[in-house]
């Protein structure tokens, strides 16, 4: 590397309460190169780009931009310095035109008046789009564009701001193969214009094609930075995973019974998931692995009756059932712990007590009158049993830490006497100790004859907790493996697009 780097990071570290998100990262980004960041979910990729773009501040280390120390306090500052981020969730405004989106907040004016010079704006936008080789009309309304075109508009916006570093977070996750090609052409064009690109993706094939350099992160540490000419796919997977599994997981010693409690047959919802079939045994923890967007959450919500299915059969304890409302699933003994605890799992402004009783309030009422004695009792019981740290049962749930909030969500289903728990990312955003406690609770739950389906993006967690592992890829089950000697590599191979 003879060039001078555009960005030089040295010893960058960042901690969140209970987690060391990044430790001691050294990274150089060169102009005209595509630098790939690779790592499992939680390896620290997003934290790293958030630090570069000023969303987070670093705890330690230095970042130099063209030899000048920088310390962005927000994305406005980093944008002004020429760094654009294109997020996975697109941030274009659907009801404005392409040109209006590109020049949002910087519209060319007619003289010194407040009126927008639409002609100039459309012309400029047209030229920009042409420059990056995209055929979209500047006057088109964003809503009518494909996802790929929307992404192109974001790229055009980044270019129009004279960004010399464009960060792309999983840009191809919602694109078809054909659209990916178009994106690659644009990236190629940017590279020729000496723009630096940080590219995050899980798709190994794609990385090998488009990238120059890859940096592999694992558990917040930089494992290796290497030219993509000198590394192959399996080596990358090995580096991503290569960790000894620390044994704080609690796997039950009691093997699951043979009795099937839940059978899902050919669950299909068009365009979301297809022919998903699996069975859950009594006393079993079934791990569900897969990349973000593989359709895991959607399948779980469909089983629970929160979303519809187009076809398929659900057999619960030997009886064919069909849940169209969560209420029916709950009455049948199923509980769902959603992935977004704060927006789907808890009434944040309500108390620990009210959240605990919510799903079983009516069953324990006297002709619809709340049984306050019962409510206080179960709330107190579960606070003790799950060792929830809260000043009292009447404390608003929003004042609790993530781990303790999650315990209350679990308590809600234990109070409702659920026998099957569907846990979607049960330990997301929870510190290590609380995680261990949650695993302990899960173990106890299955030992007492319950069954759990656990969706998780953390492979060590999947391997440490599950009896069997179901892997999903692009809405389909790509494999169900017994967790006897299974490795992260096995799962990643089933989960990632590189396999096909």
């Amino acid at each position: 590397m003879h060039q001078t780097p555009l960005i030089e990071m040295a010893g960058v570290s960042k901690s969140f309460p209970g987690v060391k998100a990044l430790s001691n990262i050294d990274l150089n980004i060169y102009p005209g190169q595509v630098h790939v960041l690779l790592g499992e979910n939680g390896a620290g990729k997003s934290t790293l780009i958030k630090i570069i773009s000023g969303v987070y501040s670093r705890d330690a280390g230095s970042i130099q931009l063209r030899g000048q120390e920088v310390n962005f306090k927000n994305t406005r500052e980093s944008l002004a310095a020429g760094i654009s981020v294109i997020h996975q969730e697109l941030s274009v405004i659907p009801d404005l035109t392409v040109a209006e989106n590109i020049f949002l907040g910087r519209e060319p004016k007619i003289g010194k008046s407040g009126f927008v010079d639409r002609k100039k704006m459309n012309n400029d936008a047209g030229r920009l789009l042409e420059n990056i080789g995209v055929k979209i009309s500047p006057k088109a309304v964003i809503r009518r564009l494909s996802n790929a075109d929307k992404q192109m508009v974001e790229i055009a916006r980044a270019v129009s701001q004279n960004s010399f570093l464009v960060i792309m977070d999983e840009p191809t996750s919602s694109l078809s193969e054909h659209e990916v090609e178009a994106l690659f052409k644009v990236i190629e064009k940017l590279r020729q214009e000496n723009v630096a690109i940080i590219y995050i993706s899980h798709r190994l094939k794609e990385i090998a094609r488009i990238g120059d350099t890859v940096t592999i992160l694992r558990d917040g540490q930089l494992v290796k930075t290497v030219s993509l000419r000198e590394i192959d796919e399996s080596h990358m997977i090995a580096l991503m995973v290569g960790r000894e599994i620390t044994q704080f997981y609690y796997k039950s010693e009691i093997p699951p019974a043979d009795e099937l409690v839940l059978e899902i047959k050919n669950y299909t919802r068009k365009g979301v998931f297809e022919n998903v079939s699996f069975a859950l045994r009594r006393g079993e923890i079934l791990g569900v692995a897969g990349l973000i967007g593989a359709g895991r959450t959607e399948v779980m919500r469909a089983i629970f009756g929160a979303d519809r299915v187009d076809s398929g059969e659900c057999v619960l304890n030997g009886q064919t059932v069909c849940f169209t409302e969560p209420q029916q699933a709950i009455n049948a003994g199923i509980g769902l712990i959603p992935e977004d605890r704060r927006n789907q799992g808890l009434l944040l402004s309500k108390s620990v007590k009210e959240n605990t009783s919510l799903a079983s309030l009516f069953q324990n009422s006297n002709f619809g009158l709340i049984n306050f004695k019962w409510e206080s009792k179960i709330a107190e019981d579960f606070i003790q049993m799950l060792r929830t740290k809260t000043p009292s049962a009447s404390t608003p749930i929003k004042n609790l830490s993530g781990g303790n909030q999650q315990k209350v969500v679990i308590a809600k289903w234990l109070a409702a006497k659920s026998r099957i728990l569907i846990m979607d990312e049960p330990t997301r955003g929870i510190d290590v100790n609380a995680k261990a406690e949650i695993y302990g609770l899960m173990k106890r739950f299955v030992e007492e004859g319950g069954s759990i389906i656990m969706v998780s993006s953390e492979l060590p967690e999947i391997l440490g907790v599950s009896d069997r592992i179901l892997v999903m890829r692009e809405g389909k089950v790509s494999g169900i493996i017994d967790n006897q000697g299974a490795t992260e590599k096995d799962i990643l191979q089933l989960a990632s697009i590189s396999g096909c």
Partner: protein
Amino acid sequence: MSNTLDLKRITKYAKENTLVLFFVILIMMSALFVPRFIDPNNLVNVMMQIAINALLATGMTFVILSNGIDLSVGSVAALAGIVATVTIKFFPNAGILTGVLVILATAIVIGGIFGGIMAVNIAKLKVPPFIATLAIMSVARGLAYVYTESRPVFGLPDSFSWMGIGYIGPIPVMVIVTAIIMIIAHIVLTRTCFGRYVFAVGSNEEVAKLSGINIVRIKFYVYMICSVLAALGGAALASRLQAGQPNAAQGYELNAIAAVAMGGTSMSGGRGGIIQTTLGLVIIGVINNALSLLGVSSYWQTIAMGVIILVAVIFDQNKES
């Protein structure tokens, strides 16, 4: 050190209870500076003036707690007034009991029909509450004019006015009826599963749904309750006015919403209740009464009311953040 702490505690208490503080000051000022305010007759009069708005505001509390809004209450009230007066004219020799029964039946039928239509549109067909109730506001008012050809319905039996202007002992019938209904509403909201679910739906519909609450059913009842109480208020108003007037209860939806907002029930649902609404109603009632006794014109009263509501809600919003 401890001094500053105490000061902090006092300010904190004052901040959290701005409205109670405001209410106490308002009552004291009125008692001191407004002639005849403290007279028992006047106080009964204040309650009487509040009573009908209180019925509408009670229903509105349910709707707003569920994160909805009902703009139709004034029109539904007017239509109910017409229907009740037209009906009672079929019974020229009606006694008190018949009058009360006609009023109650009208409330249930008219409230049931229009509440039902709105509930289906909002809960099932997912029409935004603002639009669904705006449409019914227009339809119900229109029906009242069409049916009466915009002429008031007069010539009602005297007994019909018992509910509107009669007394039981020293207390107006309407005050007793309203108080009973508000107490029931309070119990429903605080002590029943249904009430708890109204709060849950208003706090976060998705969480409520994923916890097994039948959102459609809860919303259905909420709009039914609101419409039935609005129709009851309208029939009672006709009883007080001794006439069914198609232009009655004009703007009552705003008074009801104002009382709920003033009390501190969150406009985005999930927080508040009948106690808060009561406080809002009484504050608005006392201000109106005090200004009347001071001889301020009713036009100025409207202006004062708007300003006071705005200030109260500004305080409330800033308390949240």
